[in-house]
Every structure is written in C-alpha cells, then in structure tokens.
Symmetry: D2
C-alpha cells in the first residue's frame, strides 16, 4: 500500500498547490479562460488520484479478499462507485 | 451473463433510437440547445451501458478467475480501462 | 449553418455505425473490455458532435442576436446547458 | 464581476478544505472507497466553479464586447475551451 499512497499523496499535494494558485488568480481578477484551464488541469490531477485510489482498492481489497463472499461484496461496492463515475 | 447482456442490449437499442431522433432533429434544423440536450441524454445511456459492461466484467472475469495470476491480469486490464474513463 | 450541420450529421452517422457494431459485439458475447472501449469511442464522437452543436449556437444565435436583451437570454440558456455538462 | 468572484472564491475554498481532508484520509490509510467518494465530491465543486468562471466570461467578455469582431474572437476562444471540456 505504501508505494500507492506515496503516488496518491504526491498527486493530491500537486492539486492543492494548483488550487492555491487558482484562488490567487481569481483574487487578482485574471482572465477567465486562463482560470478555467487551470481548473481543468487540477481536475485532471484529481482524476488521476482517483484512478490510483480505485486501482489500489482492486489490487488490495479485491485481489486479496479472504473469501469469494468477501470478494463479491468488494466488487459490488466498487460497481456502485463506478456507477457514480459513469453517471 | 444472459441477464446482463439483456440490460445492455436494451440500453444500446434505446441509445440508437435516440440517435436516430437526433439525426432527424439536425436534418430538420431544430433548435441547437434541444439537440445538445438529447445528445447528453444519449451519452448518459451509453455511460450506463458501459457501467453494466464493466460490472459484468468484474463479476464474471475477475470474480471467477481460475487463479490469482489470472485475476491479477484481469484487474490490471480493468485498471487501464479505468484510466481511460478517469482521464 | 449548412457547413456546421454537415459536420454534425457526419459525426452522428459515424456514432450510429459504431453503435450498430457494439450491439453486434454484445450479441456475439465479445470480450467486455473491448465492448467498453468501443462505447467510450462512441461517446467521444457524441461529445465532439455536442461541441459542434453548441459552437454553432454561440456563433449563430449568440453572435447574431437582434438585441442585447436577446443575446442575454441566449447566453443565460447556454449557461444552463453548461451547468448540465459540468455537473 | 464582484458577485461572481465571491461565489467562485467560496467554491474554491470549499474544494481546498475538502482536499486537505482527503490528504489526511490518505495519510491515515482510510478506506479507499471513502477516499474516492470525497475526491468525486471535490471534483463536482471544481466543476461548479468552472461553470461559474465560464458563465462570467460569457456574461462579461462576450456580452459586453466592444465590437462584433471582438465578440467573434471571444466566442472562438470559448469554443476551444468547450472542446477541451467535451473531449
């Protein structure tokens, strides 16, 4: 889990740094289109973080489930998350 | 698998029917905002179909993998798909 | 408007062709991950069609509005559509 | 512009607060599915912020353009942004 959480923390800290920059851009009344682009760049980083989080879930919780029942529950839960992503 | 593919086929046929309707709307030069809304409704249906397809994959291929190695490969493959969804 | 609607019709017809292919893939019980990829490719085409539709709206209805009031109404309407895209 | 930027700043600050919470969740090794849900909630807020930024652009820069040429340029620029959102 350690390797995964390092990557995730790095992505989240990058996103937070960008968000601080965007707050400053809004306060300085910078050009809307530039602000919008920075927002989309930040969301792309959060999407990558989300992908890493969900990949870690599949690799750890689903792969290493103690029983088929437990694995089934983990998959069901994951499918619900997938439904929120693909809405 | 039968139950899943019935749902998926039903969603895809609904999407195709909507797409035919949108083609007609464009040919009849209907109002852009109405066309855009129908396009988004169709994409929402395709997203639901995609969720059902991926749920079927997790429930069948991942859950019923013959070995931990095979399960691992299926999960890796799924994670790549997740990366395309969350880009 | 003609040039725009030609592009939009071409994109929609491509999407419909792909959707027919996906229906066949599901009926033939093809591999889930391949079906999912084709679904995402089709959605990407519908997204491009939606972009063209909304660009046409901005270029025609907003740009050529008869009065500032009418332009304001068209922009408000567009902003509501934007809210549905960015939800 | 003031009213718009207040809303945008409020949304961005909320997103930053949530991101700090998510960083803590990852450090505390909290459950992946819960982290993923918080990430999606944060992205939904950034999407709303982006919608507000782009709405402000349309209402100010496009609506109040000094000439049809300037308005045309602003619309072209907006359409490019739309292409990035709908990719």
């Amino acid at each position: 889990m350690m390797a995964d959480s390092k990557t995730i923390l790095r992505l989240l800290k990058t996103a937070r740094g960008q968000l601080d920059g965007i707050l400053k851009m809004v306060e300085e009344d910078r050009y809307c289109i530039d602000i919008s682009q920075q927002l989309m760049a930040t969301e792309a980083i959060l999407n990558r973080a989300n992908k890493e989080v969900l990949a870690a879930h599949l690799k750890h919780c689903v792969q290493q489930a103690a029983s088929p029942q437990e694995r089934n529950e983990k998959i069901e839960e994951f499918v619900q998350t997938l439904g929120r992503i693909l809405k």
